[in-house]
């Protein structure tokens, strides 16, 4: 076996940033893998793709994708992406960030971007806690779960992210785990081609912190949890899709058509400028 041969996805990675900083068995690498795969299968022009991320472990992903990419401040990835996308609509601007970044400090931007139906796919790595800062509880941490800031068990109810996204107006909402790589890749491809705001939640293992505190010491433990608990049910009512230890409903929850902010904006501008020319 000659190792000179390059990995088929090598071209989609920013080679001078590799290897990535993520822990052994961290799901972020798999998400990066699936994202790169999606790009290669769609063969989009990488020069027209912008990856925007926020703060947190997965926030580093913008450093690893061989595209234009920007690593914003805590929670602002979506807001930044909106600016970039509206300024240059021909770009594919993708937000990849974590559950804490997108739904705690950045929660406001998420719901409003979904409401506006901005043409941006948002991929959320949900590892149930704040990894980068050492495993504190997040808006997705299950009730009773242990983290470094819920030493007596979590007393906060977690967000059901797919429900939140659907209720906020996203036109495409899906949930997979890092074990369901093929389906995740397909979903990412779909989201990249979808007009409007699409959201993909990726349940991702954090064995070093969340797993360690919650009786899943290794990444394999966490992956087998995903394997046991997951069931695929497309068009399932997102309101009933809370994640529990015994059941994780996966699938495409929402896939609808709705004019996007971008389309309405362009139409509006064309209309106004048309009037002005007519005015002369």
């Amino acid at each position: 076996m000659n190792e000179e041969l390059l990995h088929p996805l090598e071209g989609f990675l920013r080679e001078w940033m590799m290897p990535h900083i993520w822990c052994e068995g961290c799901g972020n690498g798999i998400i990066l893998n699936c994202f790169a795969k999606a790009l290669s299968e769609l063969n989009l022009d990488p020069n027209k793709v912008v990856v925007v991320s926020g703060i947190g472990c997965i926030g580093r992903i913008s450093g690893y994708t061989n595209t234009d990419s920007y690593h914003t401040t805590h929670g602002r990835a979506i807001a930044f992406a909106i600016g970039a996308k509206l300024a240059k609509p021909e770009l594919k601007v993708v937000v990849i960030s974590g559950d804490g970044d997108l739904f705690a400090i950045g929660g406001n931007h998420f719901i409003h971007a979904a409401r506006r139906n901005i043409d941006i796919p948002v991929i959320c790595a949900n590892n149930f806690n704040y990894g980068m800062t050492g495993g504190q509880y997040a808006p997705t941490t299950p009730l009773d779960a242990w983290t470094t800031t819920t030493p007596y068990g979590n007393i906060e109810h977690p967000f059901n992210l797919v429900h939140l996204a659907a209720a906020s107006g996203a036109v495409y909402v899906a949930r997979w785990t890092t074990l369901h790589v093929r389906r995740l890749t397909e979903s990412i491809k779909k989201a990249l081609q979808k007009e409007g705001f699409s959201f993909i939640e990726v349940i991702s293992p954090c064995p070093e912190l969340y797993g360690r505190y919650n009786q899943m010491r290794t990444s394999l433990d966490m992956m087998s949890w995903f394997k046991e608990a997951s069931e695929v049910q497309h068009h399932f009512d997102p309101a009933k899709a809370e994640i529990t230890r015994s059941k994780i409903v996966l699938g495409e929850f929402v896939d609808i058509e709705k004019p996007s902010y971008g389309r309405l904006l362009r139409e509006k501008i064309a209309q106004i400028q048309g009037k002005m020319r007519g005015g002369e």
Partner: protein, 92 residues
């Protein structure tokens, strides 16, 4: 159909299933073991050797069993493994 099926099918030798060539970039591996655990054909196993990171990368147990489903490559968080179709000029 109750008839016991026991013969080697007549076309058994004619059916060409592509042979795999598995590549492992050892020093990228962080040793999560996903590729070994989730390979549907149990093609891989943990090796004895230590890589630069001090973990045991996977090694190929039986390359002939690989069906080139590429799941190992797809589930690897570290881009450390992939498989390609063996070019054996019709030799295999």
């Amino acid at each position: 159909m109750p008839l016991r099926i026991w013969r080697k099918p007549l076309d058994a030798d004619k059916i060409k299933i592509p042979q795999a060539e598995i590549h492992i970039i050892k020093d990228r591996c962080k040793g999560c073991g996903f590729c070994i655990e989730f390979c549907p054909r149990e093609v891989l196993e943990t090796s004895e050797e230590l890589n630069v990171r001090g973990v045991h990368p996977p090694k190929v147990k039986d390359e002939n069993k690989c069906t080139l489903c590429h799941f190992c490559a797809a589930v690897c968080p570290d881009f450390a493994i992939f498989s390609i179709e063996k070019d054996c000029g019709g030799g295999c």
